[in-house]
C-alpha cells in the first residue's frame, strides 16, 4: 500500500515539529526517515500511524484520506523504540494480542491464532521463546518479538521507530541485515526512523533526510550520498571537508582529495599532522598553512604505501571534486 503525505504540519506549543511536509512512499518500499534528534522524523512516523494527529495536511493510504481515521482502523504495524512489549504476557500472548482483541465476529479461532503466532515466531526465528516473558529476553530478541507482534495483525504498512536504537553494535548489524531480508520476503510497505546514517544507507530503498521539521532530500542511498541536495545532507551523511571558495561554501569528501609532495596549480599547502593507518584505508589529517584549518583525507593503502608520506612533512592537496552551494 502506498502512503501519500500532503502538506503536513504539526506543532507542540511554540515548537514547530513539522512544516508543510510532502512525501510519497511507494507501495512495497522500505523507506528510512533520517535526521538528527528533534528533526521531526518520529513525529511524522507517529502521524502516519495515527498516534499523533497533524495540525494540518493529509495522510492518504492508497489515495484514501485516513488523516482522521482511528489508529485501530488504520491497519498499521508499529514497532516502538523501546518495543513496548506487554511485560506481564508471555511472548506468545504478546504476539497473539492483536488477534485476541478483535471483536468476536472477526476473531480467528484459538487454533488459528496458535498457528499464526507460531508461524510468525518461526519467521523471526524465535519459536523456542514462546513461553518466556519479555523481561527474560535480550534486546535483539525483544526487537524481533515486537516486530512479530506488529506483523500478526497483517498490517498494510509497517512503521518502526528507531528499530535498532537500543541495541549494541554487533546485534545491530545482524538485525539490520535480517530486517532487509525480511522486507524482501514480505514486501510490506515499511517506514523506519533512524538517526544513524550508516543504518539508513545500508537498509533502505529510499532515504528521506529531514532537518528542523522539513525534508531536505528524498532519494536512493546512492543519490543522497553521492549527490546531496543541500549542505545539511552533505554534512549529515558521511565525513566531509568544507572549503571556502569564491562561489560559496564547497564540500569535498575525504576520498575526493588528491595529495602530492609537489605544488601545482590551485593546490593548497598544509602540514601532515597525523597519519591513522589501520585497515584498508589510511586517514591523513592535514593542517592548512593558510588558515590553520584541518582537512581529512582518505587514501587507499596501496596509494599511501607508494607515496610513503611522513608525519610532519608539507604536502599539497587538491579537491578532485568540489560541490559548491
Amino acid at each position: 500500500m502506498g502512503i501519500t503525505i500532503q502538506q503536513i504540519s504539526k506543532g507542540f506549543g511554540q515548537f514547530s515539529a513539522l512544516r508543510d511536509i510532502d512525501l510519497e512512499v511507494p507501495s512495497g518500499e522500505l523507506v528510512a526517515l533520517l535526521g538528527p534528534s528533534g528533526c521531526g522524523k518520529t513525529t511524522l512516523l507517529r502521524i502516519i500511524a495515527g498516534l499523533e494527529s497533524p495540525d494540518k495536511g493529509q495522510v492518504l493510504f492508497d489515495g484514501v484520506d485516513t488523516t482522521h481515521a482511528d489508529v485501530r482502523e488504520r491497519q498499521v504495524g508499529f514497532v516502538f523504540q523501546h518495543y513496548a512489549l506487554f511485560r506481564h504476557m508471555t511472548v506468545f500472548e504478546n504476539v497473539a494480542f492483536g488477534l485476541r482483541v478483535r471483536p468476536k465476529e472477526t476473531r480467528p479461532s484459538n487454533a488459528e491464532i496458535k498457528k499464526r503466532v507460531h508461524d510468525l515466531l518461526k519467521l523471526v526465528q524465535l519459536d523456542w521463546l514462546a513461553d518466556r516473558y519479555p523481561p527474560q529476553l535480550s534486546g535483539g530478541q525483544r526487537q524481533r518479538i515486537a516486530l512479530a507482534r506488529a506483523l500478526a495483525v497483517e498490517p498494510k504498512v509497517l512503521l518502526l521507530d528507531e528499530p535498532f536504537g537500543a541495541l549494541d553494535a554487533k546485534v545491530r548489524k545482524d538485525l539490520r541485515r535480517w530486517l532487509r531480508r525480511l522486507h524482501d520476503e514480505l514486501h510490506v510497505t515499511s517506514v523506519f526512523v533512524t538517526h544513524d546514517q550508516e543504518e539508513a544507507l545500508e537498509v533502505a530503498d529510499t532515504i528521506v533526510v529531514m532537518n528542523h521539521g522539513q525534508i531536505e532530500q528524498v532519494g536512493s542511498p546512492q543519490a543522497v550520498y553521492d549527490d546531496p541536495a543541500t549542505p545539511f545532507v552533505y554534512e549529515f551523511l558521511g565525513n566531509v571537508n568544507a572549503f571556502e571558495t569564491p562561489q560559496g561554501k564547497g564540500f569535498v569528501r575525504p576520498y575526493e582529495i588528491a595529495v602530492s609532495r609537489e605544488p601545482a596549480l590551485n593546490t593548497i599547502a598544509g602540514a601532515l599532522t597525523y597519519v591513522h593507518s589501520v585497515g584498508s584505508l589510511v586517514r591523513l589529517e592535514i593542517k592548512r598553512t593558510d588558515n590553520e584549518q584541518y582537512v581529512d583525507v582518505e587514501l587507499g593503502r596501496d596509494v599511501f604505501n607508494q607515496l610513503n608520506f611522513k608525519q610532519g612533512e608539507t604536502v599539497y592537496i587538491k579537491p578532485t571534486q568540489l560541490r559548491v552551494f
Partner: protein, 296 residues
C-alpha cells in the same frame, strides 16, 4: 538494585571499609533503634494481647462472640466493603486521567486528591454532620423523607470513604506515571478497544500497586475511629463499628472485653502488614526480574 549477596558481603566486611562505622558505633546505634522500636511498637503490641487474655480465654471468647461485638464486626465489614470498591474505581479513573493525558491544573488536582490526608478525622466526621445532621443543609429534608444519614450507617460509610479517599489513587499515580504510555499505544495500534486495553494491559501492569492500595484502604476503613465516632451517635448494636465498640467497653471499665475486641483489630493490622510486605516483595521481585536481561 542491590543483590542480597552483596548486602551480606558488605555487612560482613563493613568494618574494614572507609565508608562504615566502627563496631561499637554500629551496635550502639542498633541498640538505640531497637529500644526505640520496642518502646513504641513491640510493647504496645504485646500489651494488647496480654490485657486481652488477662482474665483467661473464657472471658476473651465471650467478649468477641457477644451480640454487640458481632454486630460491630458486621458494620465494620459493611463500611469496608462499600468504601474499598468505590475508592478503587475512583483511584483507577483518577490515575488514568492524570497519568495518560496532559491537561491544565493537573498538579492542583493531585493536591486536591490528597486533601483528606490533611484533614483531621474529627473534621471529616463534622463535615457530614454539618450537611446531613439535624441542623444541616439537608437535615429537614431527610427528616421529612425519613432518611437517616448521620447517627446511622450511611454516615459511617460516607466518613469512611472520605478518610480512605486518596489511598488507591496515591499508589497508582506514580506507578502509572513511571510506566508511560507506550504499552497502551501498542495495544491501540494492535486494535484493542479502550476497555480491553485497560483490562489486559494497564491493570495487569499495576497489579501490585493496586492490591497495595486496596490493602491500605481496607486497613484504614476498618480501623477508622475519629471520623466514625463523630457521625455514628454510638448506638449499641446499631451504629457501632469495632473501634467504637472498643471505646464503649473501655469507658465502661470493661478492660478485658475492650482489649479482646482490640486484639482482633490488632490481628487485622498484623495481617495487613504481612500482606503489605508480601506485595512489596512481589513487586520488587517482579521488578528485579525485569531488570535482569538474559542475553542469548
Amino acid at each position: 538494585m542491590h543483590t542480597t549477596q552483596l548486602e551480606q558481603y558488605q555487612g560482613k566486611v563493613a568494618y574494614k571499609r572507609a565508608t562504615s562505622e566502627p563496631p561499637w558505633v554500629r551496635w550502639t546505634l542498633i541498640g538505640i533503634a531497637l529500644v526505640f522500636l520496642a518502646l513504641f511498637l513491640l510493647i504496645p503490641l504485646a500489651a494488647v494481647f496480654a490485657e486481652a487474655l488477662r482474665k483467661g480465654w473464657g472471658v476473651y471468647l465471650a467478649a468477641i462472640t457477644e451480640a454487640d461485638a458481632l454486630s460491630a464486626m458486621k458494620l465494620t465489614l459493611i463500611a469496608s466493603l462499600v468504601s474499598v470498591p468505590l475508592n478503587l474505581v475512583f483511584g483507577v479513573a483518577a490515575a488514568w486521567a492524570i497519568t495518560k493525558f496532559d491537561f491544565r491544573g493537573k498538579s492542583f488536582l493531585i493536591t486536591l486528591i490528597d486533601l483528606p490526608f490533611a484533614v483531621s478525622p474529627v473534621i471529616a466526621g463534622l463535615i457530614f454532620v454539618l450537611i446531613f445532621g439535624l441542623q444541616g443543609w439537608f437535615g429537614e429534608w431527610l427528616i421529612d423523607h425519613d432518611y437517616k444519614v448521620v447517627f446511622a450507617v450511611p454516615g459511617i460509610i460516607l466518613a469512611t470513604i472520605f478518610i480512605t479517599f486518596p489511598f488507591v489513587a496515591r499508589e497508582l499515580i506514580p506507578l502509572m506515571q513511571a510506566q508511560g504510555k507506550e504499552e497502551e499505544e501498542a495495544a491501540l495500534v494492535l486494535g484493542a478497544s479502550g476497555w480491553k486495553m485497560l483490562w489486559h494491559v494497564t491493570l495487569p501492569n499495576v497489579k501490585w500497586g493496586l492490591i497495595y492500595g486496596v490493602i491500605l484502604t481496607n486497613a484504614r476503613a476498618m480501623g477508622e475511629f475519629g471520623a466514625v465516632s463523630v457521625v455514628s451517635g454510638h448506638i449499641r448494636g446499631m451504629t457501632n463499628t469495632m473501634p467504637l465498640h472498643v471505646e464503649i467497653l473501655y469507658n465502661e471499665y470493661n478492660y478485658a472485653a475492650a482489649f479482646a475486641v482490640a486484639s482482633l483489630l490488632t490481628l487485622l493490622a498484623l495481617v495487613t502488614l504481612v500482606l503489605k510486605t508480601y506485595v512489596e516483595w512481589r513487586a520488587s521481585h517482579d521488578a528485579a526480574i525485569q531488570e535482569k536481561e538474559v542475553t542469548v
